[in-house]
Amino acid sequence: MSVQFEKPQTAKKIIPIIVALLLIAAIIGGAAWFYLSQKKTNTAGSETATSTPTASTEIDTSAPTGQATAVKTNLTSTIQQLNNELSAMAADQSSTEDATPTL
């Protein structure tokens, strides 16, 4: 009788452990999935931004508000790039490297 009684007790102890392990696995798996998904999104963003090297953000463009916001954000980014290009150009124009040295 005692042998038959102990088997279910052992099973009772093991089941919560298995459940806990599965939960941990699910959490780690979910976190990894989330991380990889985020990484993929960021990579795609930087690829698009190669022509205008920038950080990027996703805007829902399914509705006019998002579409207009995306237009504005793209324009703002381009304006910033133009400002940066103009500053760099000014720096090169003031370079003394193309002045004839005293030889």
Partner: protein, 265 residues
Amino acid sequence: MRRLLSSLVLAIGFILVASPALAQTSATPTATATVTAAPIVSISDLTQTNRNTLRAALQAYQAAKATDTVQRMELIQRFITAQITTRTTAVTKMEDVFNIGRCKNVDATAKTDVLAQLTAINTNLTTEQQGITTLTTVDEAKTLSQDVIQSNRVFVIAAPAVYGTCASQTVLYVKSSKIDPLVIKLKAAGKDTTAMETDLNLAVTDATAAYTSFLNALKTRSTTPIDLITTGKSSLTKARNDLTNAASEAQKLADSSATATPTTQ
């Protein structure tokens, strides 16, 4: 029953953890909008190490005794080599802008035209490098040194011209590839984009004019007055102002759309 509960808990836990990832891969139409432009380093700064070497070579030559013609010849040849190396490095940095950098996606014809001019500078520099070995006097070396500067004008003309062509082409690229598709959607939704499009078209006109000035400056770099760069910069500044006005109109559209359809927020 206990197994059923365990499975249920497991499923809920998994959904809670994975739902943000699922949300990330949803089919909602999105646009990758750029927010912060990365800093752009001037060609002068990108070649700082070479320029330091160049400066040291010049000082060494200037410190040599006027009577020691053999040493002076050797030092001026080193100086010219440093001049050429600095410019070759600068040209590579400029090519990178269109080959792998921020302007790699611009119009193919523009890219070809700009890169062809940079190749021409490199060819010229190679010829000048070969000329060093044939020098017989310090005076000949001085002439060659001056030619390296004057026939290429890498820093005061080519560098701003290349950055200018890149900037003006970026305006055209962003307008055609990113803005136009959104404008089509806005129009389809019944939005009045007239004011915004007027500003965008002005930006295209000014950016095109800027590109023409910069490319001409690059093509005629050895003789062109610096004014051609100034003209290009002026057109580019106008294009930037047009884009600022267009962005303001886009904001108005976003505000009016949000008022009209609050559920889209």
